[in-house]
């Protein structure tokens, strides 16, 4: 699995792709953690533009990223969230913990 990421002025953007379920969640968690550890950004943006499906495993991915960022006193942002992942994030209440930018439709 490979995700494109870029660092600009202390802001690390990681472009996630595909369907986030239990089958692949562990790999997503590890990749995000290693990128945050490598770049130590002030802000990390998880870009969900190309994510087509999220279940509760996606919540675990966000919670782990949130933990990684709070350890280095940084901020986490979610962007490009389409309606299906948004409903899962709302049902779990994670939209109250992280700043979320929905996809422009």
């Amino acid at each position: 699995m490979h995700f494109t990421s870029f660092l600009e002025n202390g802001k690390l953007t990681i472009a996630l792709t595909g369907e986030i379920d239990h089958h692949c969640a562990k790999a997503y968690i590890q990749i995000i953690a290693s990128k945050i550890e490598a770049y130590m950004p002030e802000v990390c943006v998880l870009d969900f533009q190309d994510v087509t499906f999220v279940d509760s495993s996606g919540i675990a991915v966000v919670i782990n990223a949130l933990r990684n960022m709070s350890q280095i006193e940084g901020k986490l942002l979610l962007s490009g969230i389409s309606p299906q992942p948004m409903r899962v994030f709302r049902a779990s209440g994670i939209d109250k913990l992280v700043e979320i930018r929905e996809a422009v439709s």
Partner: protein, 143 residues
């Protein structure tokens, strides 16, 4: 006839089958002309139920999962997901948000999501015998 159409699937508790199961149910439900939101909710609930079988019902072995879908009258999709795994000792506790016996890649939100995305949701379980999740979703008839 009590129902219009049905399908039954049986597959081993391998995590690759999470995507297969939710896609299969979505394909079956397509004949009911669901909205994108309804289809998304159904896929998510099925994904949660099947993941629970894989993670919790059969923690150290590969076992069988049976999935049955029926279309009932008034445009209701009826889904039963059954395993013969370890069972849940305390169903009430398992249904509580953020309670999980899974690892860091789990969130404890599975039951909460199934409950909020489906019209009806029931779990029955016997320790050592298995768990059955029964859920229904009424789909809006589009004008």
């Amino acid at each position: 006839m009590k129902f219009d159409n049905y399908m039954i699937l049986e597959f081993p508790s391998r995590s690759t089958n999470e995507a297969f199961a939710r896609s299969a149910v979505a394909c079956f439900a397509a004949q009911m002309d669901p909205t994108l939101e309804e289809l998304g909710d159904i896929r998510t609930a099925v994904s949660e139920a099947v993941t629970n079988c894989i993670v919790h019902a059969y923690p150290n072995e590969i076992g069988n999962i049976t999935l049955r879908c029926r279309i009932l009258k008034d445009n209701v999709l009826d889904i039963v997901i059954k395993d013969k795994g370890v069972g849940i000792t305390d169903v009430e506790q398992a249904r509580r948000p953020s309670f999980t016996t899974g690892g860091a890649e789990r969130s404890g939100m599975g039951f909460t999501i199934m409950e909020s995305f489906m019209t009806n949701f029931e779990v029955s379980s016997a320790s050592g015998k298995g768990t059955t999740v029964h859920m229904r979703r009424k789909l809006q008839r589009r004008k």
